[in-house]
């Protein structure tokens, strides 16, 4: 999922200061799962914002909505009947959702309420960790299903580096050395000899090196 964290309240209050009526929009997908911007978080933020304004002797009218998916135009369209009553929109979705609202409603200011962080998996309740950088050319088949691009601090394709100590990364002792994890996994699979194969230099143009990316599926395009 795409993970996110709420921005500091001070920053949110500051960008809403000029307004009196806002639309606070959550998303039922990734940000709900990582407890950053689902229906529940919309309710809590709405209450916190209103109290922050009331404390300053001002009022803020907040219309709360949570869309099924804020990154899909079909669902963003549901805002049409409410958008005119709002002076601004605050989105609790990832950056994709914020931009979809900005694209659809060109004259309405839109503010992000969360910092979108990474594509990750939940390690346990309340803990999410980065797992994928969307490099566009997956190497997980070569590395035993453990990603050196997202999980190695240096993104080494043929590791480890000299900074690996007792299975931990020199950047932070809380970070596992992914090349240790890859080795352990290859061993468990009985294919340690795969470790000797050099992985060829990566063509980073499939990732961000080639500029913003787009997928076009001709069979689906209408």
């Amino acid at each position: 999922m795409i993970t996110a964290e709420r921005k500091p309240m001070e920053e949110l209050i500051e960008c809403l200061r000029p307004y009196h009526r806002i639309l606070l929009v959550g998303c039922n997908e990734c940000v709900t799962v990582c407890s950053a911007g689902g229906r529940k978080e919309v309710g809590i933020l709405s209450s916190a914002l209103q109290m922050a304004f009331m404390k300053e002797g001002k009022t803020l009218e907040v219309k709360e909505m949570t869309l099924e998916r804020q990154c899909d135009p079909e669902y963003v369209e549901e805002l049409v009947t409410h958008i005119d009553q709002a002076e601004a929109v605050m989105s609790m979705a990832c950056g994709c959702g914020v931009q979809e609202i900005a694209r659809r409603f060109k004259t309405k200011p839109v503010f992000p309420a969360v910092n979108t962080t990474f594509m990750g998996a939940s390690e346990r309740q309340g803990v999410w960790a980065e797992r994928c950088q969307g490099c566009g050319e997956c190497v997980l088949g070569l590395t035993g299903g453990v990603c050196p691009i997202a999980r190695c601090s240096k993104r080494l394709l043929n590791g480890p580096c000299g900074g690996s100590t007792n299975g931990k990364c020199e950047v932070d002792p809380d970070i596992d050395c992914v090349w240790q994890l890859i080795w352990d996994r290859l061993k468990a699979l009985g294919i340690e000899d795969r470790y000797e194969d050099n992985i060829a230099a990566k063509d980073w143009r499939t990732g961000r090196g080639g500029g913003p990316r787009k997928i076009i599926r001709e069979d689906l395009v209408k």
Binding site: P8, A48, M51, F53, T59, E61
Partner: protein
């Protein structure tokens, strides 16, 4: 402000604090009438939004009273509630309302005295903090 009488909402678990309140009554213990009790099936039922709404609607203080550690009828509802209270305290500090208005209290069903004492202590603490700054502020129209 001398005459300020705080309104305090106490979310009380059915299996401990609510019964402790009953015990306090049976023992004819006095505690301040400022505390308004809301019975919940477990302190873990109390969500962040319940605490926020109580404050938004004008409560000066809120506390969640759950079972002693290890005694939760639903295993860990009291531990979950304590974490939520800590989260809300931080949020309230961030918006300038003050996290001190919210507390997590643990007690058993037999602790009538502790219930009465907690009610008195919390009332005193909130009285010192003064009224919730949003209590008398004009409220925004309800968005529809």
């Amino acid at each position: 402000m001398e005459n300020f009488e705080p309104t305090i909402v106490a979310f009380c678990c059915h299996y401990c604090a609510y019964t402790a309140a009953d015990m306090a009554g049976s023992k004819r213990l006095c505690y301040p009438p400022n505390v308004k009790i809301i019975k919940v099936p477990c302190s873990g039922k109390v969500d962040a939004i319940h605490i926020m709404k109580a404050l938004e609607m004008g409560a000066d203080g809120v506390y969640v009273a759950g079972c002693l550690e290890g005694d939760c009828h639903f295993k860990s509802g009291n531990v979950d509630a304590a974490k939520r209270v800590a989260y809300i305290k931080k949020l309230l500090d961030e918006i300038g309302i003050g996290g001190g208005r919210v507390e997590m209290i643990l007690m058993s069903a037999g602790m009538g005295e502790r219930f009465a004492q907690t009610a008195a202590d919390m009332t005193e603490k909130i009285r010192k903090l003064g009224p919730n700054p949003v209590k008398f502020a004009p409220k925004a129209n309800k968005a529809v």
